[in-house]
């Protein structure tokens, strides 16, 4: 789950490797900050999201990620890989915070409350980010996919 989150946040398998490893290193180093009543998964999500957001702040890395993504070999051959790439590209066009909200709720199935805990913001903020993100994704992906057509 952490690897998938990092991959979708960064768009790069190599960076997802580094980010997911760093997540567990940071978790280990900050064990004292963990509150026993918190849920482990949410705590790890929060560390991973913060790392990914900080990672994204470095503009040079962002450009590099786009280049890597465009040069990257598809993981699965054929049409599926092409579609996956289109979706990933659309995700990368969202702001990092919007992207994080979409990944946590849509891919990882967190509720708005859980996503808010992982992102360190209010549920209302998560809802707004999701609203804006989904509107943008619909615009970006419209025409590239025929809705309702199964593969």
């Amino acid at each position: 789950m952490i690897y998938s989150l990092c991959y979708r946040m960064s768009g790069s398998a190599a960076d997802a490797d580094d980010l997911s490893q760093e997540t567990f290193i940071q978790a280990y180093k900050h064990l004292n900050a963990f509150r026993a009543e918190a849920v482990v998964g949410t705590w790890l999500y929060r560390i991973a999201v913060n790392l990914c957001l900080n990672w994204r702040k470095r503009e040079q890395r962002r450009i590099q990620a786009h280049q890597e993504w465009s040069e990257q070999e598809p993981s699965t051959p054929g049409e599926n890989a092409g579609r996956a790439q289109q979706v990933q590209e659309a995700l990368l066009k969202l702001t990092p915070k919007q992207r994080a909200a979409v990944i946590l709720t849509t891919y990882d199935g967190l509720t708005h409350a859980e996503a808010a805990a992982a992102l360190g913001c209010s549920e209302t903020t998560v809802s707004w980010r999701l609203f804006a993100a989904r509107a943008k994704l619909k615009r970006l992906l419209k025409g590239q996919f025929e809705p309702g057509v199964s593969q």
Binding site: M1, Y3, S4, A13, F34, V39, N80, R83, Q85, V87
Partner: protein, 212 residues
């Protein structure tokens, strides 16, 4: 494009899969990186009284502080979750909860041999109960599911251990035939024969490994 269609489109974007051995080596890489950083960090000034750092010393110090030990257990559990969830998605079993419990248990047991007293799965997540010393007798792990007035809890534990069921501390006992007995103040349960004290509870117990 409506919301459902957008969800469908988004979920088509799969994440590149890693080889199984990548995840098997993952915890080792994390620990190696931690060790590398520890060595690379400037050594703190030592006093004459401070002993040299060692793994055994660090572990002794760690487990002398229960909160820290619990935190270590929790993070290891997180690692277990991470691996278990990823690998569990590929597991096809007639009882996914049991299969997941077995995976978590084996990952945790590998990290804390002879120290795991119980793994508890409930609405608040997964919790680990560890003995202070690695002296838990080796015996076949048991899988228990207890549903009571406040919800269901699942446990992986052993005969002779104690579990907390809805606040009630229960002894878990198993005989040679694998029949499980749960004895608590509010709960008394034996095999498939529920007794009066267990009214309001539904209990399911079996050997963890039997069905896998």
């Amino acid at each position: 494009m409506n919301d459902a269609e957008l969800n469908e489109v988004l979920k088509r974007a799969t994440v590149p899969e890693r080889e199984a051995d990548y995840w098997e080596r993952f915890p080792g890489r994390v620990m190696a990186e931690l060790e590398r950083r520890r060595q690379a960090a400037p050594a703190p000034a030592k006093t004459l009284a401070s002993p040299a750092w060692s793994w055994t010393g660090a572990l002794r110090m760690l487990f002398s502080r229960p909160a820290l030990a619990a935190a270590v257990a929790v993070i290891c559990l997180g690692l277990g979750f991470y691996l278990g969830f990823w690998r569990g998605q590929r597991s096809l079993s007639d009882d996914p909860q049991l299969a997941a419990a077995q995976k978590y248990f084996h990952e945790i047991e590998a990290l804390f041999p002879n120290q795991v007293q119980a793994v508890v799965f409930d609405q608040r997540g997964t919790h680990l109960v560890l003995a202070k010393e690695p002296n838990v007798p080796a015996s076949p792990p048991l899988y228990l599911k207890v549903c009571g007035p406040t919800g269901c809890q699942r446990f992986v534990t052993f005969s002779g251990q104690q579990i907390r069921v809805n606040g009630d501390v229960c002894d878990v006992l198993a005989d040679g035939r694998g029949e499980v007995l749960l004895v608590g103040r509010q709960l008394l349960w034996s095999g498939s024969k529920a007794v009066a004290a267990s009214e309001g509870y539904q209990v399911e117990a079996r050997a963890l490994e039997n069905r896998l």
